[in-house]
């Protein structure tokens, strides 16, 4: 049985007199200890997916339909108190910006101890011992002294390590990391990712890594979902998606990577912008920007189909594949 | 934030009016009723010389024998005085109309003075920056730490003692506008300065500078429109506060004289008679004052919810 199973999840935002669909019928699975990447531009619905899994959508967002089965139990229907017992315990989350994630007026020790004591009956001293062990695991120097410090006394990288330590406090089965390095200095981004990967592997923790960076996904994850305008448009093993993307959007993303461009050449961009959630075109949401677009792309929604080694939502995927393979020898 | 778009001001305005503000206004009965009452009171005040049956400033129309008639729905009233008369025998209804006129006038003028001073100082502080900026903002902090009412009370008390009541009463309206207007400039200055600091870095300001526009033009035409929503929200609250301040000062005898009463001085003169049973001299202008301030505050609340500006917090 998979650890997490999302079925036909639809999330909407209540506006003045109508609703806007932020997540449209998404389904995916995560096996125990598996690492999954969710890739897409900002506004594609990645973060909303992450918060839905914790059942922490803030208003006006709400889960409209679908199931989120965590170890076979539906989170959507779970009472709040029971869900609270899972959050931070079986399922932990790492937020985007460590500078604003920790409470500025509570010490590191208080914020770690409260997490432990929320889920387990133990004394403060015992909780502090566990906290120190976890801080050591994330390579925080002199962890005993950190407990008395306030967040503002620590650097951003240090804070994100502490947040990773808090995520590991109760040995969860799943960590959801929402762009954990975007707010950090480029020089320490790689360190943090490496640490996260190492800890997930050694503790056999499942990971959902939300990012816009395909490079990071290829190093960190086994499987990848590509999201566009609230939909999953391509899903499969990370290696296959990177090496042989099927959806024109994924291809565009990969071609836009600097590694794919010769020095001195312009980076290849996908023309246009992702539509805002209030103005998603009928048919395929990518159709206005797609260079392979056909008439029926603009009118009918593409079904998700198995093609090559991946699942992809594109009408023209087979034609595209043929054209590409014909091009390559030439 | 909606305030990041500078170009196409006209279209932005019509857009706000047609969609957001207009919509929420129509949907908000409290805002509609408040605006209606405010417009009604303002119109009555403006038309006071036409509507009022008597002229309270004309001694020939006042007869001390008419003093303390109750309102018409109470026994012992006189039919020509709808809301009764005050202690000097003036028709209360006429006096209230003229008094509301004065209260509104002082409140609005004081706020215009506040806005002018505060916006100018805020623009200069934010645009010039450096030492001048920190000096002006330190002054704003200190000014704010002294309560406006306190400053006004002391200023007016000393002025009154210095010039004597007669001269003071003659110019009371200007003193009131000046002191309420000067004391509250930091409210505007801080907010405007914050906007200037945020906008100054943006490209359109650079490009305006490169195009050779002078600092004054850049500030007034390009940067200032971005602080319009907070200025609107502050202004409504400030008008309400200014009216309350004026009433309080007049109540203490440091504002409008009894011969030319604003709502505050009218309430004050009635307070002496409250124990003898002539409650209406205090109660009727009191109710009107509260209703006037309340509808302005309600409009301010609604506006704050709709525009949701980033107000400077200390």
């Amino acid at each position: 049985m998979s650890l997490l199973s999302v079925r036909d999840l639809t999330v909407k935002f209540a506006m003045r007199d109508h609703t806007v669909t932020a997540l449209d019928n998404i389904s995916f699975d995560l096996a125990k200890g598996e690492r999954l990447g969710i890739v897409g531009e900002s506004g594609a619905g990645k973060s909303i997916t992450g918060f839905s899994l914790m059942n922490l959508l803030s208003r006006p967002g709400f889960i409209d339909a679908g199931k989120i089965l965590f170890r076979g139990e539906d989170i959507v229907k779970m009472p709040q108190s029971r869900m609270r017992g899972i959050r931070g315990n079986r399922m932990a989350m790492i937020f985007q910006d460590p500078m604003v994630t920790l409470n500025p007026v509570l010490t590191i020790g208080q914020q770690m101890v409260e997490t432990l004591m929320a889920h387990r009956t133990l004394s403060k001293a015992e909780a502090e011992q566990i906290a120190i062990v976890k801080l050591r695991e994330v390579y925080i120097p002199s962890p005993e002294e950190r407990l008395a410090q306030y967040p503002h006394e620590l650097s951003g990288g240090m804070r994100q390590r502490i947040i990773i330590a808090i995520a590991l406090l109760l040995d969860p089965e799943l960590i959801i990391a929402d762009e954990p390095t975007t707010a950090l200095d480029v020089t320490i981004q790689a360190d943090i990712m490496e640490l996260l990967l190492e800890l997930c592997q050694s503790n056999k923790v499942g990971l959902i890594l939300i990012t816009h960076d395909l490079g990071v996904v290829s190093q960190m994850t086994e499987r990848t979902l590509v999201m566009y305008a609230g939909k999953i448009i391509e899903a499969g093993r990370t290696r296959e998606i990177i090496n042989d993307p099927q959806h024109p959007y994924t291809q565009g993303l990969i071609n836009a990577l600097p590694q794919q461009t010769k020095p001195g050449m312009r980076l290849k961009q996908i023309p246009g912008n992702m539509p805002s959630l209030t103005a998603i075109p009928p048919g395929c949401p990518f159709s206005p920007r797609c260079e392979y677009v056909r008439d029926h792309c603009r009118t009918t929604r593409p079904e998700t189909v198995q093609y090559a080694h991946v699942e992809v939502a594109c009408h023209e995927v087979s034609r595209l594949h043929q054209e590409n393979t014909e091009e390559q020898p030439a | 934030m909606t305030m990041t778009t500078n170009p196409a001001k006209a279209s932005r305005w019509s857009r706000i009016w047609n969609s957001n503000m207009g919509y929420s206004f129509r949907r908000n009965p409290v805002a509609v009723v408040s605006l209606a009452i405010f417009v009604f009171i303002t119109a009555m005040a403006l038309l006071a010389p036409i509507i009022a049956p008597f002229n309270p400033y004309d001694p020939a129309q006042i007869d001390i024998m008419n003093s303390e008639f109750p309102p018409v729905w109470i026994d012992g009233s006189d039919a020509q005085f709808v809301f009764g008369t005050d202690d000097q025998g003036r028709d209360l209804w006429s006096t209230i109309l003229y008094g509301t006129r004065l209260s509104l006038l002082i409140g609005l003028c004081a706020v215009m003075l506040q806005a002018f001073l505060g916006i100018s100082i805020g623009l200069i502080a934010g645009y010039v920056g450096g030492r001048l900026d920190s000096l002006l903002m330190r002054m704003a902090d200190i000014q704010l730490s002294f309560s406006t009412l306190m400053v006004a009370i002391i200023f007016l008390a000393v002025t009154q003692a210095m010039f004597g009541s007669e001269t003071f009463n003659q110019y009371a309206i200007y003193f009131l506008i000046a002191v309420i207007g000067v004391a509250e400039w930091p409210q505007y200055a801080r907010t405007v300065r914050a906007t200037v600091l945020a906008e100054k870095k943006k490209e359109y300001v650079d490009s305006a500078r490169v195009l050779g526009f002078g600092p004054l033009r850049i500030m007034v035409r390009h940067i200032l429109p971005n602080s319009l929503s907070p200025i609107f929200v502050i202004s409504t609250v400030q008008v309400a506060n200014a009216i309350i301040s004026e009433a309080s000062l007049s109540f203490l005898g440091l504002g409008m004289p009894p011969s030319q009463p604003s709502l505050g001085s009218l309430i004050s003169s009635g307070f002496d008679y409250i124990f003898s049973g002539s409650w209406w001299i205090t109660a009727i202008p009191g109710v009107l004052l509260v209703v006037l301030v309340l509808v302005i505050n309600l409009l301010g609340d609604w506006m704050r919810d709709v525009l949701n500006p980033k107000l400077y917090k200390g």
Partner: protein
Amino acid sequence: MLAYLVKRVFQAIAVMLVISLVGFAIQDNLGDPLRELVGQSVSEEVRQQLRDELGLNDSFFRQYSRFLGNALQGDLGTSYFFKEPALDVILKKLPATLELVLGATLIIVGFSVPLGVYTAIKPNALLSRLIMGVSIVGISIPVFLTAILMIFVFSVELNLLPSYGRGDVVTVFGNWDTNFATLDGWAHILLPSLALASIMLPLFVRLIRAEMMEVLQSEYVKYAKAKGIRPYRIYFVHALKNTLLPVITVGGVQIGTMVAYTILTETVFQWPGMGFMFLEAVNRVDTPLIVAYLIVVGFIFVLTNTVVDLIYGLVNPTVNLARMGA
């Protein structure tokens, strides 16, 4: 910490100097000390001689430094009316005013935090809407009207509570008369304190509510939820502390404002405090008393602001006092 303290104290001294300058200017221009001393039946020569003796013909700077020197020794002149040192007159009235402010502060602190927190946590509850509705009406009623209304209802109509004066006071240490020692004292201070609190309480409820709602939207509150922390701990440990930090700064300023409003409540309730005394002094053109009041009230403002700033620095871990002093 020390550097910050020193800097803050220097600023306070600078403000006090400006206030003393204003006080001196008033002293110098308002009223004629000679007339108070000798009346009007004295010849011009004797007057000039007296002016010289009193130093009234000295340069501005010499007169001001003398004024300042006297003020530092607690000599703010002699009241024309009471024929007593002005500072003594004010200090005798000070306890009455401070007790009024204390009573109002207790009401405000006691009610504003629970009401503000409740309306922030349950913004759509019927009770919250009611509290917010009452609060906006409260803000819109001037203090003196609230006071009059209370007298009319509780004293004139219901005859429950006294409408003027301090009632039975008990002298505790020195010349401090307190209202809080007898039931009659409590009865007398209740209405004036309520009236004084009536404008600040709704302001604080709205302020706390707005701050709390903003804090509840913050990332760290979301994060606390994601850690599975219980709601009451999120509200009262994570959110409340962050809410109250900005409220402290505003609160300090508002205590100063309340001193101003005491003039209004004291006038309506004929409360024998220094605000009531000040208005009498203004009517009598008792210049030394007016100046002394200005300086004492200015001192109270500066003191509360400085203390509040220091407290803020102490309770807010993100304010590095050592660095702020630099």
